[in-house]
Assembly symmetry: C2
Homo-oligomer: 230 residues x 2
């Protein structure tokens, strides 16, 4: 498992408990700690944006619906990650939904106070901007992958991104337990296709399974699959 981070994504944000553990009355009034149960929806597409969230504990999936049955998982957020920041700019409605995948504790800061903080702290807004820039790069890389990479490569890619973010347990499994459905939504494919390909990988000894958990066995071979032209 990955070590806990020193602060949040926006180091020195001075807002969440991770960056500012000491009690600070000036901030405390605007900083709420909220808890959600596994599977609970924190907000959904179209909801009015009222604040921004920092994860203290647990895992959130940030996802976008397509009709009723299909979704694409844009990103997972774990301890120290920000989410809900997509509701900025002109739009005051969330363009995405957020759902707890594990029991979750977050720090919630309402927009007006957040904006005030941004205004007073150049370093902070610069970090936030850099964070957006990084997310944009990631998003556009994924766009290209969805457009041109065959499913097999997209699934490998999803696994590698998950391992990167959630690390590896002592037994060599990726540090997050996902339903196949969620893995499919993350890779931008279907349930059944994920199975077949996961199975194929197990047979080829590229990954190993333990219940729902997945462990990467042969990283180089997998990486090769990503590069592969159809």
């Amino acid at each position: 498992m990955k070590q806990n981070k020193a602060g949040c994504d926006l180091k020195s944000c001075f807002l969440c408990q991770l960056c500012q553990p000491e009690w600070n009355p000036a901030i405390a009034a605007y900083r709420k700690t909220l808890s959600y149960k596994k599977g609970e929806v924190i907000f959904k597409e179209g909801d009015l944006v009222k604040g921004i969230f920092f994860v203290y504990n647990g895992i959130v999936k940030v996802h976008k619906q397509w009709g009723t049955e299909k979704e694409l998982i844009i990103r997972f957020a774990r301890q120290g990650d920000v989410f809900g920041h997509r509701g900025f700019g002109k739009e005051t409605y969330y363009p995405i939904s957020a759902t707890a995948l594990e029991p979750l504790t977050v720090c919630y800061i309402d927009i007006p106070f957040f904006l005030t903080t941004l205004k007073m702290n150049y370093d902070f807004i610069f970090k936030l901007m850099s964070f957006y820039a990084a997310e944009l790069q990631e998003s556009e890389r994924n766009m290209r992958n969805l457009a041109h990479m065959p499913v097999k490569g997209r699934i490998v890619n999803a696994l590698l991104r998950l391992q990167e973010k959630f690390g590896v347990t002592s037994e060599g499994f990726i540090g997050i337990t996902l339903s196949r459905q969620d893995l499919a939504s993350y890779a931008g494919t279907t349930y059944e296709t994920v199975f077949r390909i996961i199975n194929e990988f197990v047979e080829d000894n590229l990954i190993k399974l333990s219940g729902k958990d997945i462990g990467i066995v042969n990283m180089p071979k997998l990486e090769q699959l990503i590069e592969e032209q159809p």
Copy 2:
């Protein structure tokens, strides 16, 4: 055709000629005007980031390669649009390429001066951040579309986005002339598929053609195609 904008994407940027037409010696030293021919590459993936660009005139495509033969066009930039801003944050290499589609004149500002300006002007950095946020939303919407929307819908979507950005000529055609190849790359599909579907649309009287130019005839029917589940 759309009217020219008052300033650039980042109104009040105080950098490009569009926002600051008067001669300003303090800025002039850092502001270069560059010209490119049709088809010329302004920068490509992996190039070192040295500056940021504002379009005075012409059209740029911002695209991402996949292997040698495939690309995905992320975005088009026209008068007043910024590009090259993806090279921010940790990465100092462009994650995308930029190519002129028409004879192009741009304003080029080198990074150190740009950063200095950002530092001195809260309003400016806030606008830049909002701009990133908006691009992120757009990018993630497109991600979902690429993952779940059938090709027909993606092509319609591409056409509507083009019309939104480049407006309509007096004869009712979208204000940009694209090769079928570029349209395909924008919609995330192939050449031949674009063709067949464009033909189908013409037969169904949803769009009209004049050479390579495309005009939207029946907007509601097209919009319906976007919503359509497979």
